[in-house]
């Protein structure tokens, strides 16, 4: 077994090489960053168009929605930046190249995910932070030290929830050939997380709170800063939820890895 410190050092080594390799394609980086930026702007544009017609959505104003969306952009960035290789999993599994990850004395999930570091995701993170600052100023949110600590904690938990959902969905490829729709659905669900969960009724709200807890990616944690009086006490358990979900995802991954038989090629 290696120590976490060794893994961290290894991670930096791998990513430094990866980034050096990617820098050959400077134009690609610029165009991808533009793509990332445009896709972040698109949702804001949609909000803006909706709020051009109505004063609020379920009582939430445009600026509050911008805050939730900024929180969301920051919270999904770790998944985008560190776990982007999840998207390639089904190609590796189907074409047999996944076998290579069995041959190193490293944690397999670490080794597999470290092979990609999504530089363009940094654009999203930066845009999210700028947007969060902007919305905080507009909404007169007073960032005390305690609140900042709370922000770090909730972002960390939200990021784990998002990572778990995507990685678990990508693992479907170990059992079904055409797993893309599973990942596609997980990806689409992600787009619903910046909306107030209070618009949903019954089964939907239950699912998004307890089963596939996308509510914890942006809306519930944002409530803590926007309307602390309305917040459900559940939110204080979000670190446990985040880590618990990640543990389940890791278990699914291990199951999948152990059941993989290769393609024989």
């Amino acid at each position: 077994m290696r120590t976490p410190g060794e893994y961290l050092r290894l991670y930096f080594l791998i990513e430094a090489l990866y980034i050096k390799g990617r820098m050959q394609y400077r134009l690609d980086f610029i165009i991808s960053s533009i793509g990332m930026f445009v896709s972040s702007l698109a949702t804001l544009g949609i909000f803006w168009v909706i709020f051009d017609n109505v004063p609020n959505i379920a009582g939430w104003t445009l600026m509050e929605m911008v805050f939730i969306y900024a929180f969301y952009m920051i919270a999904i960035s770790p998944m985008q930046i560190l776990f982007d290789h999840a998207w390639q999993l089904r190609f590796h599994v189907q074409q047999g190249s996944f076998i290579k990850y069995y041959f190193r004395p490293l944690n397999m999930m670490f080794y597999y995910m470290s092979e990609m570091f999504d530089i363009k995701g940094l654009t999203q993170l930066a845009a999210g932070i700028i947007l969060l600052i902007y919305a905080s100023i507009q909404l007169n949110i007073d960032w005390t030290l305690a609140r900042l600590a709370l922000l770090v904690m909730t972002v960390f938990s939200a990021a784990l929830v998002q990572i778990s959902i995507i990685v678990a969905a990508s693992c479907a490829t170990f059992w079904v050939m055409d797993s893309y729709p599973v990942l596609g659905l997980a990806w689409k669900l992600r787009e619903f997380s910046p909306y107030p969960m209070t618009i949903f009724d019954g089964a939907f709200r239950f699912t998004f709170t307890y089963l596939i807890p996308i509510g914890f990616v942006a809306f519930y944690p944002s409530q803590l800063f926007l309307r602390p009086e309305e917040v459900s006490p559940l939110i204080y358990f979000s670190p446990i939820l985040g880590m618990g979900l990640f543990a389940i995802t890791y278990w699914i991954w291990t199951k999948g890895v152990n059941s993989y038989t290769g393609t024989g090629a």
């Binding site: 394609y25 698109a42 909706i50 109505v54 379920a58 729709p181 939907f204």
Partner: protein, 263 residues
């Protein structure tokens, strides 16, 4: 011609092999419809109609729009780019086929697949689960034709982006930017009526509105006069012709820069 029909048929059959994906897509679409239902219901809390659209009409628009989104997503840009990068493109160029037509046939095959797998179930869901009422009118007759032209416009835009693969390796950036521009400016996510007037007037001059807005309007407001519906269809046709010409010109240029190292 028979060769191309075989491609259409083969792509359709490939779709049939992946039954799990097929069923899961329907499941995914139900969830999406549910979410869209709640979201738009809360937007419509404030008034019965917004910009001349009732909740019922907007929900048909959004629901069918999401089904059309899967229908029109041919992934031709990604496929073409992959085949250029890997050199697979050479195997097409030595055959007596037209690459554009070949790709179009593949796209048509998956279109037919999604039509049976996604669009029809969505219409059934809208009718029986969400109990929306479809208005009757001449627009409904024009819808299939309008949908076909929307497919051709979408295909040519994707093909054009895919051809960029001859020049650059950055298909992710181009593809994503194109996808976002198409979905927002075409009215795939929000009916164009909701946009502020100044912006809507610009959007109506762009080809994107002919992909989602036109066919979806044929279904949500089918009881309009022929002299409103037919010009909408003509604009679509015009865009098909313009984009076809543009991709042909670009293809003839792009094919010249192709270099394949061995094989």
């Amino acid at each position: 011609m028979r060769g191309y029909l075989a491609v259409v048929r083969a792509t359709y059959m490939i779709g049939l092999v992946y039954r799990f994906g097929f069923l899961f897509s329907i499941f995914g679409n139900i969830i999406y419809l549910g979410v869209a239902y709640f979201l738009w219901r809360s937007i419509y809390q404030h008034s019965e109609t917004i910009r001349g659209l009732t909740f019922n009409e907007t929900f048909i628009y959004i629901g069918l729009g999401s089904a059309m989104f899967i229908l029109l997503k041919t992934y031709i840009d990604w496929i073409l780019h992959y085949e250029i990068r890997e050199g697979i493109i050479a195997t097409y160029l030595i055959k007596p086929i037209n690459l554009g037509l070949y790709m179009l046939s593949g796209g048509l095959g998956s279109l037919l697949m999604s039509l049976t797998a996604i669009t029809l179930p969505t219409i059934l869901l809208l009718t029986f689960v969400f109990k929306v009422e479809f208005t009757r009118g001449p627009g409904l007759i024009l819808f299939p034709l309008s949908l076909l032209m929307a497919f051709l416009i979408s295909f040519h835009i994707d093909f054009f982006i895919g051809l960029l693969g001859f020049y650059t390796d950055s298909v992710w950036g181009f593809g994503t930017t194109k996808d976002i521009i198409v979905t927002v400016f075409s009215g795939a996510l929000i009916p164009l009526q909701f946009f502020p007037d100044a912006i809507r007037n610009i959007l109506l001059w762009l080809p994107f509105q002919a992909i989602y807005h036109t066919p979806l309007m044929m279904v949500t407001k089918p009881d309009q006069a022929w002299d409103i519906l037919l010009p909408m269809l003509s604009v679509q046709f015009l865009w098909v012709v313009v984009l076809f010409a543009a991709t042909q010109l670009f293809y003839n240029q792009a094919i010249k820069v192709l270099r394949i190292g061995g094989g």
